[in-house]
């Protein structure tokens, strides 16, 4: 397309190529846990982005859940054991 050719002559700071976008989308796609198991060649960008959104939401929910469990466990743990763990890690 002629628009793409003229765009390549623009300044380097504003150049966004199709390859760059595809690289980023595939990089994102590599990070997602579900699509990795299936056929990973022909995944549309829309699907990758949808999976990304749902994955981020599930990660947020998991952080909430884990922080709740962690706060309960931190109360119940014996303080001497916690200080032992802490001193082991602070060496």
């Amino acid at each position: 397309m002629s628009s793409r050719r003229s765009r390549s002559r623009q300044s380097a700071a504003s150049m966004i190529t199709d390859d760059q976008i595809n690289d980023l989308v595939s990089k994102l796609h590599q990070l997602l846990p579900e699509i990795r198991n299936r056929c990973s060649d022909k995944v549309s960008a829309t699907r990758v982005l949808q999976e990304t959104c749902s994955y981020i939401r599930s990660l947020h929910r998991e952080v909430d859940d884990l922080s709740e469990r962690l706060s309960e466990l931190l109360d119940n743990t014996d303080s001497t054991q916690a200080s032992i763990i802490r001193s082991l890690l602070m060496q």
């Binding site: 765009r7 700071a13 976008i21 829309t46 959104c53 981020i56 763990i85 802490r86 060496q91």
Partner: protein, 171 residues
Amino acid sequence: MSASQQLTPTNPNSALKIRLAYRFLLTLNTLNAKKPPNFDHTQIHRRSHRVKIAAYASMASVVGPKRAWSRAILWKIRNRGMLARNKKRIHRISTPIRLHRHHARRRRNPNRVVHVDPFVNSGLEVKLRKLVPGAETIDPCGLLDETADYIKYLATQVEVMRNLVDLYSTI
């Protein structure tokens, strides 16, 4: 012998996990030192909220100011008192735009015409900008990059917390 000498990570992911875990435990330590032990139900909810803030804060401070999402998280946490007070007011201070002044300059460039749009359906872009912190004023290309980085650190942080929960529940 320090702990960093004992652990020799073979791949960058485990090195990242170690850094995140160390920072998270450090933050939790300072958090636990302050609070008095109590078993009230409202306090339990507040404690879990503080653990959550510690998780995000430690994750963002490991990255530092290099990334837009880490800057946004640190800003939000440091100013959460002010944000809670301003929530009741009608007008909100648009400070995320103040932080990304260099991005705003880029957007005013008259030569820049975005022909390539990865977000064919723009509804997804809006959702993504809401989910990733500090992503409201980034160009679409940088948004994908920030998302990938954010997912990487967030997934590792979740793994660290899971391991901690396992560790504490078996002791």
